[in-house]
Symmetry: C2
Subunit: 365 residues, 2 copies
């Protein structure tokens, strides 16, 4: 069978520890299931900066572009706070997203039944929660030009960022949201601030047009992004798929993740457009959580988000649906058994290490 | 005694109903306490558009500029969804903020003890919550130029908004936050996205410098805005004062408001710089909630946010601290008695109308 190429970028902080658990699963699938994964590994973020003064090297970028899928850990930490803006750890992630044209960021916010009680929200508000945030990832204020600080003299500076969206960018991300809604509860809510932003006016207009032209079977609603944030906190189960821009998506998906009380549990997928010839999409999979430098290197980090990101990789990059289902079920089973890393520990459960969690999930797979 | 001039802009939806209850309180204070309020009234939002094709007329703008304080209800509704962008209801509010230079938006998020159970968050997470969001209100992506939609041909358009902050704008809003923190628990958390936005880099730099130069007695921390949103949901009591820009402030203050479960209860104040001669600040007071067109005209809206906004007006524009305290205590007392409008109704409480709520608060004052 054809080789499935994975490029691993563990990054900084708890990234490498979490990635080590995914390596175990890959090795198991190669051994026992002849899955045919080939892996290569590179540096990103602060560790790349330390090695060669850049948040990702051109060589590693080439490997990321060539791989079937990239698995990404996390980047950043106080060690690199004073690094110049262009070389800061996040620049590596942003370059991967931009150069690979990963415009569609899928962030499921689900509440694992075993953890329904660990949220700051009331149990009935989040129990059974299953929403999907589709965030635009290569446009908006993250990449628009001008983006600069100008010295105005007299001790005054001016900081400028530019929010830009073109019709085609809004069309393609909303198409992804509509397509995914069809595989779920068939509802999309689009969020922007059309009452103050011209890009929001265009966003609203294009989503509406794309819906009318190609997806009128899906139920579409619109919400202002501030009201959307409120509604996520008030009653998140009202949503199925939420589609929104890069910056609102950053805020709203983090809030949605925190609602579930399972921040250390949530995966994400970032996808490009299907290749015209092969139909393959470039893809990068990463946990929603950050590099957590405060607990790095102690072997206590929660590897579940990273493992769940690999499950998304099986599903979206390799169409290995049965294996993805099995891996996700294994995560739920381990939680049901009461096994917990420190971040999700609660009374009556058993506290285990990063490696023990990886082993337990593999045993349940 | 000198006349205290108030300019009332009830606006659309439930705005006029809520404002009617404030009128009762003003009349009472004039009658019984010789408070010397003079009032005038104008149109804003959709009702202004209906009357003269603009979201606020020049005449009413002049009156707003001349008044000691503006009391603002709410604007907007589906009736005006198709109105051209420049004349949409929100344009009236944005013009007031910009032309009056109301750069400092104070949004307290407090949890009334009687309502601690009505939040979607667990009671221990929000009980006793008392945080203050200080939002920059006249800059950022709300007003930066270019702000436009360009036709690129071939069915493609480009929507552009510009996020701009100058040193002096960041300095003056952070000074407001530090000053207010001194009257509270003496802690400020500044939120931006310096990892992706140059305006965020400048924001962080200026807040740090202003702190060092003039407010080093206040405890200052920094958080990325997305992490800040998560922390608000996880454990909001970790914050005292949060200072942030216009757009992040819009999102974060709405989320904070929703946390309390008391959205219909929360006031805001928007203040300008003190006049060089008189020391007076231009000021506008408005509830955080919107115009709620679905329940408008039925006499069931909750007037508490509007009344609490008037209490902020007493405090900040007229230094009537005792009266402000008394009015806020009256609100709490009425809630303690179990009187509720429909939006905050719960078992064992008595459901009352907008007018009955206004009367009850006045009786408890
Ligand atoms: C690390 C940072 C640049 C990134 C972002 O802002 O997109 C992160 O917050 C995320 O959501 O993936
Ligand atoms: C009505 C709208 C323009 C306004 C804003 O976005 O500032 C509102 O959401 C607010 O927070 O006061």
């Amino acid at each position: 069978m054809a080789t499935r190429s994975l490029f691993l970028l563990p990054g900084d902080g708890i990234g490498p520890e979490a990635m080590a658990e995914v390596r175990k699963i890959i090795a198991f699938m190669n051994d026992k299931e002849a899955a045919g994964f080939s892996t290569d590994e590179g540096l990103v973020g602060g560790s790349a900066y330390d090695a060669h003064g850049q948040a990702i090297s051109d060589g590693d970028m080439d490997k990321a572009m060539a791989a079937d899928a990239v698995l990404f850990g996390a980047v950043g930490g106080p060690k690199w706070d004073a690094v110049p803006y262009e070389m800061r750890p996040e620049a590596g992630l942003l370059r991967l997203r931009k150069d690979m044209e990963l415009f569609a960021n899928l962030r499921p916010a689900i509440c694992y039944p075993a953890l329904a009680n660990s949220s700051s929200l009331k149990q009935d508000v989040i129990e059974g929660l299953d929403i999907l945030i589709v965030r635009e990832l290569t446009g908006g204020v993250y990449f628009g030009e001008p983006k600069e600080i100008i010295d105005l003299g007299n001790g005054q500076k001016r900081g400028i960022d530019t929010q830009v969206y073109d019709t085609y960018e809004i069309d393609r991300i909303s198409a992804v949201a509509f397509e995914l809604a069809r595989t779920r509860r068939n509802e999309v809510c689009s969020m922007e601030k059309r009452n103050v932003m011209k890009s929001g006016v265009l966003w609203n207009e294009v989503v509406t047009a794309t819906h009318k032209a190609r997806f009128s079977d899906v139920k579409l609603s619109h919400m202002l992004a501030d009201a959307g944030g409120m509604q996520l906190v008030r009653w998140p189960k009202q949503f199925d798929v939420i589609v929104t821009d890069n910056l609102f998506g950053d805020m709203l998906s983090d809030i949605a993740a925190m609602l579930t009380g399972s921040l250390g549990m949530l995966p994400s997928a970032s996808l490009g457009a299907p290749d015209a010839k092969t139909g393959k999409r470039k893809a990068l999979y990463e946990p929603v959580h950050g590099s957590a430098p405060d607990i790095a290197g102690q072997g206590i980090a929660n590897p579940i988000a990273m493992i769940a990101s690999f499950a998304m990789c099986l599903r979206y990059s390799f169409n290995m649906v049965a294996e993805a289902d099995r891996l996700e079920a294994a995560i739920a089973a381990v939680l049901d058994k009461g096994l917990r890393t420190g971040d999700i520990m609660s009374d009556g459960c058993q506290k285990i290490t990063t490696a023990e969690m990886g082993d337990a999930i593999l045993a349940a797979y």
